[in-house]
Amino acid sequence: MRTIAAAGIAVILLAPLPGSGQPQGREHVALSAKLSQDGVQRGGVMRGALIVTVGSGWHINSASPADDNLIATAASFSPPSGLAVAQVRYPGGSEKKCTFSDAPLSVYEGTVIIRFSITASAGTAAGDYPLPVDVSYQACNNDICLAPASLRVVIPVRVLSEGAVPVPVNDELFNRSSEK
C-alpha cells in the first residue's frame, strides 16, 4: 500500500547549524524554502513555505508529538528589522505505529510543508533582506534514533520599490486553494 511513509533519497541541501554539535542525521532530513512572490511591497504581505524532506524509512516528530518527552519539529525565524513573520502553520502529523512500541507516534515522513507569512512594515527601505530560519527536529527509524538536530535556511526576501508590482511565483505551492 502506498503510504506517506514512502519518501525518496534525501539529499542534504543545507549544512547544520554551526556549533549545533551533532551533524549525524543531517543526510536524513533536508530543508529548503519558497516564497509566493518575487518580492513584497512595503506594508504588504506574502506567503512562504519551508519544505522539509525526510528520507525514506525515517520519521521526525511532528510539531505536536504524542508525548511531551519527544522533541517537536519547530521552525524558528529571525527576521531582520522591517520584516515580521506570522501565521506559522505546521501540518498535522501522521500516526505511525513503530515496531518497537504499542503506542502510536505523531510523525512527519516524506515531504512536509510548513507555511508562514512575511510582512514588510511600511517604513522598510526597498532592498534585499536575509531571513534566517532554523528548523529543529529529531529523527528515528525502526532501529535507531538520532540526536536532535537543526537545519538552517536563509531566505532572501526582496522589499519592492514604491509602485513595483509583485510577481507571483511557485504557483504549485501557493495556488488559490491555499488562500483558505
Partner: protein, 665 residues
C-alpha cells in the same frame, strides 16, 4: 541480569479520558485482535454500535474499510471510508484520502471514489496544511492508470518521482504506465531498474512477461534480457567508486544471478566484494556480500555450496534482512527441506511482512501441513525466540592472552529501538565473565530526556562521533549501530558477541590493575599501568576511570525498567588522565567525592537545559518521569581502561567493586 520490560500504551495520545478508556480501549483492542476476517468485521461493527462516543470509532471504521477492501466489497468499503472521514477534522484528512485512494486502486474497486480521494489529497498537499507530495502524486497517478488513463499517469509520475528516483515502487509504477502507453522497451528498462533497486517478485514476473511479448523467439528474448540487465548494471556501477562501488557490485551480482545473466561476471563482482572484507568490516557488509555471493553460486548450480555460505552467516542475519531469509528459504526448498525453509521464511517475517516472503511461507507451509491454520501461532513463537533466549556461557578454549575487552553502550530510556540493544547487553553480561568482558552503559538524551544522562556520557558519545542510539562500541574499535524491538535482542547479542570474541584473544596493549579504596564518602582508585604487558604499545595514552552503578531502576518511555552498569561519573572528567605507556610501568591515583557526584546529578536534574549534555540549546524540556535522585552507594563498581586517544583503541580494561564504606554523615 534480566531486564524487566514494560510497554505502556499511549492512551493520552489517543485523546480518551482514563476513566472511560478502560472499557472502550479493551473492547477495541479485543475486536482488532480477532484473527478471522469476517469475525473481525463483526466484532468491529459491534464495537462502533456499542461505543458511539468512543474516540476509537474512527480507528474502527478505518480497520473496517481495510477489511472490506480485502474482501472486494466496494459498497461497504466506501461506506466505512465515509463514516471514518466524518469523524476526522477536514484539515486532517489528507493522509486518509491518500490511503483510501491507493487501497481502492490496488484492489481495482471504487475507482471513481479513488480518483476523488486522490484529487482531494493532492489538493490538500499542494494548497493546504501538509505537503507530502511525492506519495500523493504517486497514488493519483496509480488511480489514473487503473482508470485506463496511462498518458496522464505517466506525466504525473514524472512529477511524483522528483526526489524518489531510487524508490523501487515509484520506478515500478512508471514502468506500468510506459507499458500501457505502448513504450515497451522503455518499460522494460524501467522495470529492470526497479528490480535492481529492490523490486519484488511481482515486478520480476512482469519483466519476464513483457519480454515474452516483445520478443517471441527464445534466442532474441534472451539477448534482449541480457542487454537490459547489463545496461541496468552498468548504469548503476559507472557512477560509483570505492566502497560504494563494491557494495553496488555485490548488489549487481545478485541482480544478474536473479536473471541468470553473465554469471561468470556476476561471480567476479560478488567475489570482489567478499574479498574486500576484512576483520574490521561492518558485519552488515559481511552478511550482505556473502549472501549475494551465495545467490550467484546457487544460480551457477552449486546449491549445496551456496547453502554452506548462507549457513555461515545465518546467526548474523537480522530479522530486517528479508532478502537473506528469502534466499535461505528458497535454497532449502530447492534441496527438498521444507521444514527448514519454513523456519527461514519465518525469521524473515519477524518484523516486516513483505508479500513475496509471506506468499512463499504460506505456500511451503501449506505443502507441509495441508493448511495455513497455525502458521501465525508458529510465527509468534519464532518472534518470541528472538526475545527470550539463553545466551549460554563463554568458553575461550584455552588460556586467553589476558585481554579484557570493553563494550560501551550508548542508549536512551526514551529510545524505542534501544530495547533490543539493552536486552542484548544484559545477555552479553551473562555470557562473558568479567575476566574477558567489561561493559559500560552511557545514557544520553536521545530521543527524549533521560535522567541517567551525565555530561560525561554525552562527551563520550561525541568523542566516538555517535551515530545515534543505540550504538555499541567494542574496544573503541568497532561500532555496531542500531537495535529494534525486543524480537531483535538475540540478533544484537550475536553481533556483539562476535565482535567481542574478535578482540578477546588478542594480547593486551598494556597491563592494567586497579585498587579501589573507599573512605567515608570518598572513593580513590590506584591504577598500575604498563609493566609486563606482552603486547605492550608504548606511547601517549589516557587512563579513564568510570564510577558505575551496577543496577539502576528507572522506567523510561521504552519500557525498560532496570539498567545495568550505568556510568554515573568519570573520574577526572571525560578527558581522563594522560600518561605515557612505558615498559617500566607507572602508578596513578584518581579520586572523587560522592557528595560532589550527587550534587552534580541534582544540578543536572534541576536544569538539564543548562548542561553540555543537552543537545540542541533551543530544545524544550517538559519534565522528568519519576527517577532516582542520587547514586546508590551500595551498588557501585569502578571500571578503568587505557585508551589510545589517536586511534581510540582500548589497550586494556580492569574492574573492581567499590567496597562498602561508612557514609560521611
Amino acid at each position: 541480569m534480566r531486564r524487566a520490560l514494560i510497554f505502556m500504551p499511549c492512551l493520552l495520545a489517543l485523546g480518551v479520558t482514563h476513566a472511560s478508556a478502560q472499557s472502550d480501549t479493551a473492547a477495541f483492542r479485543s475486536a482488532l485482535a480477532v484473527q478471522q476476517t469476517q469475525e473481525r468485521i463483526t466484532a468491529l461493527s459491534r464495537f462502533v454500535g456499542e461505543f458511539p462516543q468512543s474516540t476509537f470509532r474512527a480507528g474502527a471504521y478505518n480497520a473496517l474499510f481495510a477489511l472490506y477492501v480485502t474482501q472486494g466489497d466496494e459498497p461497504r468499503a466506501l461506506d466505512a471510508a465515509t463514516r471514518y472521514l466524518s469523524l476526522v477534522p477536514p484539515g486532517a484528512r489528507m493522509n486518509s484520502y491518500n490511503q483510501f485512494a491507493y487501497a481502492l486502486a490496488e484492489k481495482n474497486i471504487g475507482l471513481d471514489s479513488a480518483l476523488v480521494y486522490a484529487e482531494l489529497a493532492e489538493s490538500m498537499a499542494k494548497g493546504g496544511g501538509t505537503g507530502t507530495l511525492g506519495p500523493i502524486l504517486d497514488t493519483h497517478a496509480y488511480v489514473l492508470y487503473r482508470k485506463g488513463n496511462a498518458a496522464a499517469a505517466e506525466k504525473l509520475q514524472d512529477e511524483a518521482m522528483i526526489g524518489h528516483a531510487d524508490d523501487a515502487e515509484y520506478v515500478g509504477h512508471l514502468a506500468l504506465y510506459q507499458e500501457m502507453n505502448g513504450k515497451r522497451r522503455d518499460a522494460l528498462s524501467t522495470i529492470a531498474r526497479a528490480i535492481y533497486l529492490g523490486g519484488d517478485r511481482e515486478m520480476e514476473s512482469r519483466f519476464l512477461e513483457w519480454l515474452a511479448r516483445e520478443e517471441k523467439g527464445e534466442k532474441a528474448r534472451d539477448a534482449l534480457k541480457q542487454s537490459i540487465v547489463l545496461q541496468t548494471v552498468h548504469a548503476a556501477l559507472d557512477t560509483l567508486s570505492g566502497a560504494a562501488a563494491l557494495a553496488a557490485k555485490s548488489n549487481a551480482a545478485a541482480f544478474m544471478a536473479r536473471f541468470s545473466v553473465d554469471l561468470p561476471e556476476a561471480q567476479k563482482y560478488a567475489d570482489a566484494a567478499v574479498q574486500s572484507l576484512s576483520k574490521n568490516s561492518p558485519i552488515e557488509d559481511a552478511v550482505t556480500f556473502r549472501q549475494n555471493l551465495a545467490l550467484v553460486t546457487a544460480a551457477r548450480g552449486n546449491v549445496n555450496q551456496a547453502l554452506e555460505m548462507l549457513r555461515s552467516i545465518e546467526d548474523f542475519a537480522s530479522p530486517w534482512s528479508t532478502d537473506f531469509w528469502t534466499a535461505l528459504g528458497g535454497i532449502y526448498r530447492r534441496l527438498g527441506e521444507p521444514d527448514k525453509a519454513i523456519a527461514a521464511y519465518m525469521n524473515g517475517l519477524t518484523l516486516l511482512n513483505p508479500k513475496d516472503l509471506r506468499d512463499s511461507l504460506e505456500s511451503v507451509y501449506m505443502s507441509v501441513h495441508g493448511t495455513t491454520t497455525g502458521l501465525d501461532a508458529d510465527l509468534e513463537r519464532v518472534k518470541e525466540a528472538g526475545a527470550t533466549f539463553d545466551p549460554g556461557r563463554y568458553s575461550p578454549g584455552g588460556a586467553g592472552a589476558g585481554k579484557v575487552v570493553l563494550a560501551e553502550l550508548f542508549t536512551g530510556a526514551e529510545c524505542g529501538p534501544c530495547v533490543a540493544a539493552d536486552m542484548a547487553f544484559d545477555a552479553l553480561a551473562e555470557y562473558f565473565p568479567r575476566t574477558d568482558l567489561l561493559m559500560l552503559e552511557y545514557h544520553v538524551h536521545i530521543p527524549g530526556p533521560d535522567p541517567l544522562t551525565t555530561d560525561d556520557s554525552w562527551s563520550r558519545y561525541q568523542m566516538y562521533r555517535g551515530g545515534g542510539t543505540p550504538t555499541v562500541v567494542i574496544d573503541g574499535r568497532e561500532s555496531i549501530v542500531g537495535g529494534g524491538p525486543r524480537y531483535v535482542a538475540r540478533n544484537r547479542f550475536t553481533l556483539y558477541r562476535y565482535a567481542v570474541q574478535k578482540y578477546a584473544g588478542e594480547a593486551p596493549g598494556t597491563n592494567l590493575a586497579i585498587d579501589v579504596v573507599r573512605q567515608h564518602d570518598s572513593i580513590s582508585v590506584t591504577a598500575r599501568v604498563g609493566k609486563g604487558g606482552e603486547g605492550l604499545k608504548p606511547g601517549p595514552c589516557v587512563l579513564h576511570v568510570a564510577l558505575v552503578q551496577r543496577s539502576v531502576d528507572y522506567t523510561g518511555g521504552n519500557g525498560i525498567s532496570r539498567h545495568a552498569m550505568v556510568v554515573r561519573k568519570l573520574f577526572g572528567g571525560p578527558g581522563g588522565t594522560p600518561l605515557t605507556i612505558s615498559p617500566g610501568g607507572q602508578t596513578l591515583r584518581v579520586a572523587l567525592d560522592m557528595a560532589e557526584v550527587d550534587a552534580g546529578i541534582r544540578e543536572l536534574l534541576r536544569d538539564p537545559k543548562g548542561r553540555p549534555s543537552w543537545p540542541g540549546p533551543k530544545r524544550p524540556f517538559n519534565g522528568w518521569r519519576p527517577h532516582p535522585e542520587s547514586v546508590d552507594r551500595a551498588n557501585l563498581s569502578v571500571v578503568a581502561w587505557i585508551q589510545d586517544p589517536a586511534t581510540r583503541e582500548i589497550l586494556q580494561s580492569a574492574f573492581q567493586d567499590v567496597p562498602p564504606g561508612m557514609r560521611a554523615d
